[in-house]
């Protein structure tokens, strides 16, 4: 499993435990996200602080994970490392997701 998950108040926190979300990983990532978010809080925070590299397949898998949550739930992203941050900014996906520097920042922004 590439992910671990906990519930903090009204937020599900999913931690990515791999260094790369790339083409070789994207399908598994999307499936793991589906099983981790099948039920539970409406807000999901994805902790990306261990991820040092992402490609467009990985980016697509995160977008797909957000879409499969449905319209009433929300996926926020935390702990983007420099390369991951760059891919989000270049593709302007930084305008689609709420990005938080750290997981603590993301949790502080959540109404408990």
């Amino acid at each position: 499993m590439s992910l671990t998950s906990t519930v903090d108040g009204d937020t599900r926190v999913i931690t990515v435990n791999v260094e790369r979300i790339d083409a070789a990983m994207a399908i598994q990532f999307k499936e793991d996200m589906r099983s981790e978010t099948e039920e539970g809080p409406d807000r999901v925070v994805l902790d990306l602080s261990q991820v040092t590299f992402i490609d467009s397949s990985g980016l697509g898998a995160i977008v797909a994970s957000m879409k499969q949550l449905g319209g009433n739930r929300r996926l926020d992203l935390a702990g983007l490392t420099p390369v991951v941050d760059k891919v989000f900014r270049l593709t302007r996906m930084d305008t689609v997701f709420n990005l938080f520097t750290t997981l603590d920042d993301a949790l502080a922004a959540s109404p408990k």
């Binding site: 083409a23 490609d55 697509g60 420099p82 270049l90 593709t91 689609v96």
Partner: protein, 166 residues
């Protein structure tokens, strides 16, 4: 004297299933066009570039563009056919990095580099694109890109201008 010239690397032979050769001016490697071997090849290039003194920031740019170019070979050039070899050659100069990627897969559509338009993100979340970012990312990150079809090979050349090291 630049960092490039000072850097010496000796990693001949195999890194996993990746065949690797290096000298002072550059290095080359090849691997089979599968997702897992592509990952190892991309990582090996990024590691070499860092060891040879490329800044963390610039190495990240190169790794993103390289990954998109290689993934394109794996997913499209060799789509539905037996995955062949991908060869990456990197040459360092004082002020630039040249990366040439060759494969024996299908040519690019119309023999042309895709324009790489930005994906539309100003849309309903349900309609957000999940792909089609690759050529846009490559074009944003490289200083120059060229594509040639030579007989049965594709040759993609990427140039990255580097800040002068004094």
């Amino acid at each position: 004297m630049t960092l490039w010239r000072q850097a010496q690397s000796n990693l001949p032979g195999e890194v996993g299933t990746v065949q690797f050769n290096a000298n002072r001016q550059g290095f080359a490697l090849n691997f089979r066009a599968t997702e897992m071997e592509a990952r190892e090849g991309i990582r090996a290039v990024a590691t070499q570039l860092r060891q040879r003194g490329l800044s963390e920031d610039r190495a990240g740019d190169v790794e993103i563009a390289l990954a998109e170019a290689i993934n394109n070979v794996v997913e499209h050039a060799y789509a539905d056919i037996e995955p062949g070899q991908v060869r990456i050659r990197c040459q360092m100069r004082d002020d630039k990095l040249l990366i040439r990627i060759s494969d024996q897969g299908r040519p690019l559509p119309d023999g042309q580099l895709p324009k790489g338009e930005p994906a539309n993100v100003e849309t309903d979340p349900a309609d957000l694109p999940e792909g089609g970012f690759g050529w846009f990312l490559i074009r944003q990150l490289v200083s120059e890109i060229r594509y040639e079809r030579r007989q049965n090979s594709n040759l993609l050349s990427l140039r990255f201008d580097l800040p002068k090291v004094s």
